[in-house]
């Protein structure tokens, strides 16, 4: 297991360094191949670890492997160690498997771009960082990975660095994530102060034994939640994700849908003993998830950018995962993470096919009737949409309904709120995703864009083989991945995670199937609503105050601008005018002027007359000699 873990972690790093060091000695194509190969080697490592673990007893599947002691400060020791257990193996498989497919897809999608080597190096680097996050054997290594994926995300969102909006989106993502990182780090400081260690075992032991006071546990859990919410783009730290769509589409698929944004869910599952010791915080996570899934769902109803619609649906689906993790249905949350990785990557990559075909067009008002021209894309996109809406047998059906059933089983005011809210979210999901599907693939054809000789072959067929094959694999996954968990029949996914993630609630089989029946009915109603609106040629949300609010995404950006950004800028300007210029700059100027004055004074003594110098030396030596004589 340990060997597989190390191979999995280091292969993408080697790929990244190889591309970085090779520079222009390898062609762009080769850089893409190196990157793809390194991620797939990582996948092989993950599979090896998985198979190895499968052959062991369930209690024996946790392995902590230490490379060396990273640093020591008194009693506080941090070791460079990997934790390979069923949870991290699931994440490793998702990150390298889906990641490998997306990097392979990029070989086709990015062909003809400038600076592909940089792109592929960053992609390999991201996969390494994400693996560091999920495999790190203690909280500090997790924080290292946490920071590195933020960096990779920043670099890739800003990949088109000559586009101002991309640079600003990258900056926004980085700043919001940095706020989350800082909150999380504060939680870690508290842990170091009160527990003296960041090892999972020690921290969880302290949380479970009640050794820490309630206040401390609550604050630590809040710190972890802050980090999770920022990374996973949940309210109130969600504003960066829609803007992050400025990056290349495969980046959106890999980082902002399938892997990085789900890190928050992973974090809650990984540190569940801490959250269980602070149930209010855990419930807060569920409530934030619910609010996000509803807000993102309604905002998605009015968006016109194909990628932004999918981005909001990502936020909304991660909201479901937070709901699951927040009520203690960790296995279901992870299962939704798993299936979501397939169908969301699929949706983004098929959107990439559409965008590629239309020469970079992302506005759905300029699309339409693509079903006839791109049958393959149409079929795969439909699979992704059905999986997202939760229509049987597609993947989302099994995982989303399981979370809702768990909310029902949890009961109480919270459970029922989450249940009803989640069902409402399912309705919204069906409406916005089928609105997108109908507008893009049905109706009248949009004119084919003018082909100006550039990248000629892109307009024939539906994309290169790299792209169509990976999309096909993901479509298979989005169709069948859900079958790993059929309520009452077999539940290998849950059984696999059971040793690490003991769920707090387990819905009965009747609750699961009942919820599924309701959710599917609601989904079909949503589809019907979207279809009727599309047929009648009207929007789902009529013009008016509501629509304006939605188009402004509930004024979050404006609010943050007014509350944080503008005061901060005003303060900065003030400080520059009143402190920087007079004190710092002025002080330096005065030091410089003083030095000059002193120099011109002393330079007057330098007459150039040799004999004066000789006299000065003589007098000085005589005086010194006298002084020595007298003093002695």
């Amino acid at each position: 297991m340990a060997v597989g873990g190390w191979v999995c972690l280091l292969a993408p790093l080697v790929g990244f360094l190889a591309i970085l060091l090779a520079g222009t000695r390898i062609t762009r194509r080769q850089a893409g191949l190196v990157s793809t190969a390194s991620v797939f080697v990582g996948f092989a490592g993950a599979v090896y670890a998985f198979v190895d673990a499968l052959g062991r007893d369930p209690e024996d599947r946790v392995e902590l492997t230490t490379a060396w002691t990273w640093f020591k400060a008194g009693d506080f020791v941090v070791e460079l160690q990997l934790l390979i257990d069923p949870l991290s193996i699931v994440m490793m498989l998702i990150v390298t498997g889906i990641g490998g497919l997306i990097v392979a897809y990029s070989n086709g999608y990015m062909a003809g771009e400038d600076e592909e080597r940089r792109y592929f190096a960053y992609m390999a680097f991201f996969v390494f960082a994400m693996l560091m996050l999920v495999q790190g054997g203690n909280l500090l290594l997790l924080l290292v990975g946490w920071g590195l994926v933020g960096l990779a995300s920043y670099l890739l969102i800003g990949f088109y660095h000559d586009r101002r909006s991309a640079v600003e989106a990258a900056k926004k993502a980085f700043v919001v994530n940095a706020v989350g990182d800082a909150i999380m780090a504060l939680g870690f400081f508290l842990l170091i102060f009160h527990v003296g260690s960041l090892d999972y075992g020690v921290v969880f032991g302290a949380a479970e034994s009640g050794e820490l006071s309630d206040t401390v546990v609550t604050l630590v859990a809040l710190g972890l939640l802050g980090g999770a919410v920022a990374k996973s783009a949940q309210i109130p730290f969600h504003t960066w994700l829609p803007d992050a769509m400025e990056g290349p589409t495969p980046v959106s698929a890999l980082i902002h849908a399938a892997t990085m944004v789900t890190a928050g869910v992973y974090l809650i599952c990984r540190t569940h003993p801490v959250f269980e010791a602070a149930p209010e915080v855990q419930h807060l996570a569920a409530i934030l998830g619910l609010v996000t899934l509803l807000v993102a769902g309604v905002v998605a109803l009015v968006q016109w950018d194909i990628k932004r619609v999918i981005a909001y649906s990502t936020m909304s689906q991660i909201g479901y995962m937070f709901v699951g993790a927040g009520i203690g249905a960790y296995g279901f949350a992870m299962f939704h993470l798993f299936t979501h990785a397939f169908f969301k990557a699929l949706l983004f990559l098929t959107a990439g096919l559409v965008i590629h075909r239309l020469d970079g067009e992302q506005d759905i008002r300029k699309m339409g009737g693509l079903r006839a021209r791109m049958p393959y894309t149409h079929a795969t996109f439909l699979i992704g949409t059905l999986a997202l809406v939760g229509i049987p047998i597609f993947a989302g059906f099994w995982s989303k309904d399981a979370i809702l059933a768990a909310a029902l089983a949890d009961g109480g005011a919270l459970g029922w709120t989450l249940y009803v809210g989640g069902l409402l979210g399912a309705l919204l999901t069906a409406m916005y995703s089928f609105r997108l599907y109908f507008i893009v693939f049905h109706g009248t054809s949009a004119p084919e864009p003018e082909s100006e000789g550039h990248d000629e072959h892109a307009h024939h067929g539906e994309g290169s083989r790299w792209m169509t094959i990976t999309v096909g694999v993901l479509a298979l996954g989005a169709t069948f991945a859900g079958l790993l968990q059929i309520p009452g029949v077999w539940e290998p996914f849950d059984t696999w995670l059971e040793p690490v993630l003991e769920p707090l609630v387990t819905p009965s089989t009747a609750q699961e199937w009942g919820t599924s029946a309701i959710a599917v009915t609601i989904g079909v109603i949503g589809i019907a609503v979207a279809w009727r609106a599309f047929k009648a040629g009207r929007e789902l949300v009529p013009d008016g105050a509501v629509r304006t609010t939605l188009e402004h995404k509930f004024w979050f950006d404006e609010l943050y601008d007014a509350v944080f950004s503008r005061p901060a800028q005003a303060l900065a300007v003030r400080l520059r005018d009143n402190v920087e210029t007079p004190v710092v700059q002025g002080g330096l100027d005065e030091v410089a002027e003083g030095t000059l004055d002193a120099a011109s004074l002393t330079s007057r003594a330098q007459s150039g007359l040799l004999r004066t110098y000789a006299l000065a030396i003589t007098v000085t030596v005589s005086v010194l000699a006298l002084v020595f004589l007298v003093v002695r």
């Binding site: 002393t602 330079s603 330098q606 007459s607 150039g608 007359l609 004999r611 000789a614 003589t618």
Partner: protein
Amino acid sequence: MLGPDVPWYLVVSAILFAIGIAGVLLRRSPLIVLLSLEIMLNASNLAFVGFSRLFGELDGQIFALAVMAVAASEVCVGLGLIVAMARRNLALDVDRFTELKG
């Protein structure tokens, strides 16, 4: 011990050194300045040898030899410079060379 006591040597050395300083400070001809420098160096040599005798060790005498070598090289360079100046018809006056003033 033959000859006068060691302190007398030191007195002579001090007188010679004072003469040298006076020459450097008062005369303007580079040639004389160079000459005065030589006198000062030899004054120090005399002091070295005197002390060497006083303590009965040879270190001082060896150092005196080193000083002679330095003095010889210095004369070479110094005289060379003076000859070069004379050839260019420059005034042989140390007070006229003030390019290095601040």
